[in-house]
Each structure stands twice: as structure tokens, then as C-alpha cells.
């Protein structure tokens, strides 16, 4: 019995060891958005000889191979990935191997895999907690309105950080600084936030129109570069009307 258990344990350990390479999770190398593209650079591992070809293969063995030739100038074998190759949102992977010049055309081993993730377009909508409030608190009126910006996107990786910014007008004129009329929520530098708020606390009556912008941060939560600096404006402004407090009525007896 004891022998059986020991053998089972041993088999499990060996099995775990053998499958270890399969369990390695591919790390993202770069994110891109919008119309931004990527250059795949040869960064070492083997000293290229003039005339060597680099064979770039997209998405594994079934992908299309592209050839660049090293002419002795650093960077000459790099591959500027055409936008059309990585237009679709999601993951795009590349590997490369070196092929020596003809007639030998010797192929070297395959490089590490580079993963590029194209980020989706973002949609930003605004919603005010109160469309109007009185300039001075009265009754249940809190005297403030919270405008919430909500980001929606398809298949947005969880580690992507978003940054929000706000603009406002009062009666059609820009409000600057915004702190005169309220406060915006600080951006979260460590975790993804799909919402952000601006709290309008102005007691000055008028019609306030708010717009917000969401953009991808320069890097994700793990420090991986997000290339493109894409920003997306709110689809519709949010409007809050601050109404004046009615004046004190004068009552006369006649």
C-alpha cells in the first residue's frame, strides 16, 4: 500500500515536471490602440551576419511568413508590422528565426514569441445623478450632482489602466479651473476603473454642460507599454442645471 502511494506521488511529480513548459503563460509584450502599429526588433541572441534573413511568422506555424534581410546595418532586419496585419482587436503573436544566405539557407531555432494585443475602441457615456438642483440646499436637495462617466468596451484586458479627464462649460463658456465648480475623482494608477465621477457642487446657478475623455494609460498595471495614446470622448454631454434659490416672498396684508 505504501509502495503504491509512493509511486503515485512520484508519477504526479514527474508528470508535473514534464508538462511544466506547457503551463507557461505567454506574457504580453506590447499593447497598441487606434491606428498605431509596432516594429518587431531583432534584439540579440545571435550575431547576425550580413545577408542573413529573418523569417517572421505570425500566429504560429500556420501564419504567413515575412522575410527581412540583414545588410550589416543595425535595424535592417527589423520588421515594421503593417497595420493591416494587426487590425483586429486581440492577440497577435510573432516569432522569428534566422536563415543563412543562399545556397545553404540554414535555418536557426525559433525565437521567443512576441505578443501584441490590439486594444478595443472605448465608448464613454455620461450620466448625472441630478439633472438640476437648487443653488442652496433645501429640503431633500443635496445641492450637488454627480456625473458618472462609464466606459464600455469589448474584451478589454483587466490589467489595462484608464485615465479620465473632464471639461465643463457654464452657459456655453468654458469653466477653468474646474475645481471652481466641483471635484473629479482621481484616476486609479494600479487597477482598471471603468467609471469615473465628477461632483458638481457649484452654488452658482446656471446650466453646466460636462464632457469627459477616457484614454489608455502609457502602461498597464504590470508596466507593459500601451502604445498609441488613444483617447475617446464622451458620446453626449451631461447637463446639470443649478437653479437659483427663489427669493424671500414679501407678504402684505391689505
Amino acid at each position: 500500500m505504501k509502495t503504491t502511494i509512493t509511486l503515485l506521488k512520484l508519477s504526479a511529480i514527474v508528470g508535473l515536471f514534464l508538462t511544466l513548459p506547457l503551463q507557461v503563460v505567454l506574457a504580453v509584450d506590447i499593447y497598441v490602440c487606434g491606428t498605431e502599429t509596432v516594429t518587431l526588433k531583432y534584439s540579440g541572441g545571435y550575431e547576425l551576419q550580413s545577408g542573413d534573413k529573418l523569417i517572421w511568422i505570425k500566429d504560429g506555424d500556420g501564419g504567413e511568413a515575412v522575410e527581412t534581410v540583414y545588410n550589416g546595418t543595425p535595424g535592417s532586419a527589423d520588421y515594421a508590422v503593417p497595420l493591416a496585419e494587426i487590425t483586429a482587436p486581440g492577440s497577435h503573436t510573432y516569432t522569428a528565426h534566422v536563415m543563412s544566405p543562399d545556397p545553404a539557407s540554414c535555418s536557426g531555432d525559433v525565437s521567443n514569441t512576441v505578443e501584441i494585443i490590439r486594444l478595443p475602441e472605448l465608448t464613454l457615456s455620461l450620466d448625472a445623478s441630478l439633472a438640476q438642483y437648487c443653488a442652496e440646499e433645501s429640503g431633500t436637495d443635496a445641492g450637488e450632482s454627480t456625473i458618472t462617466a462609464t466606459t464600455t468596451a469589448t474584451s478589454l484586458p483587466a490589467e489595462i489602466l484608464l485615465e479620465y479627464s473632464w471639461t465643463a462649460t457654464k452657459g456655453g463658456a468654458p469653466v477653468d479651473p474646474l475645481t471652481e465648480i466641483g471635484t473629479s475623482e482621481a484616476n486609479n494608477p494600479t487597477a482598471q476603473d471603468l467609471t469615473n465621477t465628477f461632483t458638481l457642487t457649484s452654488s452658482e446657478d446656471g446650466v453646466y454642460a460636462f464632457n469627459a475623455t477616457v484614454q489608455y494609460a502609457a502602461a498597464d498595471a504590470n508596466g507593459v507599454t500601451i502604445k498609441g495614446g488613444c483617447s475617446y470622448n464622451s458620446t453626449e454631454p451631461a447637463t446639470v442645471t443649478v437653479t437659483p434659490k427663489p427669493g424671500t416672498p414679501t407678504i402684505t396684508v391689505e
Partner: protein
């Protein structure tokens, strides 16, 4: 008349073309190339070469005859005949060359008889290489008796040559004669040099294979043990791990004549091994 002339011209042209294209490869003898031209020479009145053309015709059973008359009053004659290869196929400097001959004379010692015969490779009928005569010839033949028809195979001289000359001399009181049947060499195998990648084996293939031939593959130019010996026209090397040039050699052996085998020159094949590129590292920017 015109038609006859045209036909005659046609056959003549075809014959010349055939000789040019295939050399004088004897019918039924694989890639043996027989000498097709000859140059006789004999001391006036003292020596002669009769039927000289029979040493270079397509009938390998007939022969030319070299005669030297008895030496009189100390005057010594010589008869010699050079058999030449004039086709496109020439012997390589290291091609062994085989001749069929006999010699006879009123002389008690075989060694002395063979001392009157010499064979020397030639280029354009000029001597190149070292003559085989006397003991050297006997060593080559092993056994010989006066009048015995034998085949002898001589090593190539190591330099360009296109023929082999038999020379018959005399001494006072002896009038030897010799018969010269033919001379031939075996066309060396041809193998295309290979360019391969590091850690790959090279596959060497003979491009002019012949039935009844075997091939020996070596990694040394002379001597050594064969890496492969047989009728297979391909030889696959071990995977070659070191870059640069590697030399292999192959020689053909003609087994067309039962019980006999004739060797070709051992020819080199160059395998150039290119380095296999290392594993690259790439990054995205």
C-alpha cells in the same frame, strides 16, 4: 550522287559526334575509355611497328606488333607505340591505366626480357611520369613468362596525361617482339559538391552511375579504409558538426569483365558546411 554524298556526310558526322560525346567508350564495357589514336615510331631498318591501328580499333582481341631485329654490329634499334586518348574523356592525373600486351624474345631471364619493355605515360606523345620497366614491371605483373598475354594496370602519373607509350628495345643478339592490344582507363565517378547546414548529413550521389560498377567512398585521398563499399550510388555522411569544407572521395570499380575489376581515379567531393544560425531574440516596440 548528291544523295550518296549527303548520306555519307551524315554518317560521318554522326560517328564524329558519337566519338566526341562518348569518347571511345567500348561497347558493353561501361565507362572504359579506350585509346583511339596511336603514334608508332621505329628505328629505321632495325625496328618496326606492324598493324599499328589494331591497338586502337574496336576489336580488343587483335593487336599491333612491335619488332626489333637482332642487334648487328652494336647498332641497337627501338620500336615504340603511343596509344592516345583523344576523346572528350581524358584520364585524370590519378586515373589508373590498363594495357594488354605481351613480349617475347630469345632471352633466358623474364626479368631481362621485361627490361627490354617499358611503359610510360605521355601527354601529346611526350613522356610524363616514370617509366615502368624490368623489375618494376615484373612487380606489377607478379608472374610473367615470355609470350604470355597479360594486362597491367599502371598508376596515373599524378600529372596530366593522355596516353601510354610502349617501348621495345634490344640488346646485342636479341630480337624481341611485343604485342600491344589496347589501353584503357575507367571514367571517374562524378559527384556534385554539396553545401549543407551544420549538424546535417550530406547525401553524395554519383551522377554517372553504371551497371556492374561498385563504388568505394573514403575520407582520405589515398589509402585508408572505405567508408562505404558497394553498388549504392548514394553515400550519406554522418551529421557534420564543424563548419567549413569537408572532403570526401569516391572511386569506381568496373566489374564488367567476370573475374576482373578495374579501378578509376579516386576523386574528391567537397562538402561545405555552413553554420546554423543561433536562436534570435526579438522584441516589440
Amino acid at each position: 550522287m548528291y544523295l550518296f554524298f549527303s548520306r555519307a556526310l551524315y554518317f560521318r558526322t554522326a560517328t564524329v559526334l558519337g566519338i566526341l560525346l562518348f569518347g571511345a567508350v567500348g561497347k558493353g564495357y561501361g565507362q572504359r575509355v579506350y585509346a583511339d589514336e596511336q603514334q608508332p615510331s621505329a628505328t629505321f631498318l632495325l625496328a618496326s611497328v606492324t598493324n599499328p591501328g589494331w591497338a586502337v580499333d574496336q576489336d580488343y582481341s587483335n593487336n599491333s606488333t612491335l619488332n626489333v631485329t637482332l642487334g648487328l654490329l652494336g647498332s641497337l634499334g627501338t620500336a615504340e607505340q603511343n596509344l592516345q586518348f583523344t576523346g572528350l574523356n581524358k584520364p585524370l592525373p590519378t586515373s589508373p591505366i590498363t594495357v594488354k600486351f605481351t613480349a617475347e624474345g630469345n632471352i633466358s631471364s623474364v626479368l631481362n626480357l621485361l627490361g627490354l619493355v617499358s611503359f610510360t605515360t605521355t601527354l601529346n606523345n611526350y613522356t610524363v611520369g616514370t617509366p615502368y620497366s624490368g623489375q618494376a614491371l615484373l612487380d606489377l605483373l607478379g608472374l610473367f613468362s615470355s609470350g604470355q598475354v597479360v594486362e597491367a594496370t599502371f598508376l596515373g602519373p599524378g600529372t596530366s596525361y593522355d596516353g601510354i607509350k610502349m617501348k621495345l628495345s634490344t640488346v646485342v643478339g636479341v630480337g624481341p617482339s611485343a604485342k600491344y592490344f589496347y589501353a584503357f582507363f575507367i571514367v571517374a565517378p562524378t559527384v556534385i559538391d554539396q553545401v549543407i547546414c551544420q549538424d546535417d548529413p550530406a547525401i553524395l550521389t554519383i551522377t554517372n552511375p553504371q551497371p556492374n560498377y561498385t563504388y568505394k567512398w573514403y575520407n582520405v585521398a589515398t589509402g585508408g579504409s572505405a567508408l562505404q563499399d558497394g553498388s549504392d550510388i548514394n553515400y550519406t555522411t554522418d551529421p557534420l558538426t564543424s563548419t567549413g569544407q569537408h572532403l570526401y572521395y569516391v572511386e569506381a570499380i568496373d566489374h564488367d569483365t567476370p573475374g576482373k575489376s578495374y579501378l578509376s581515379a579516386r576523386v574528391p567531393i567537397t562538402v561545405t558546411v555552413h553554420p546554423k544560425p543561433g536562436t534570435p531574440e526579438i522584441e516589440a516596440q
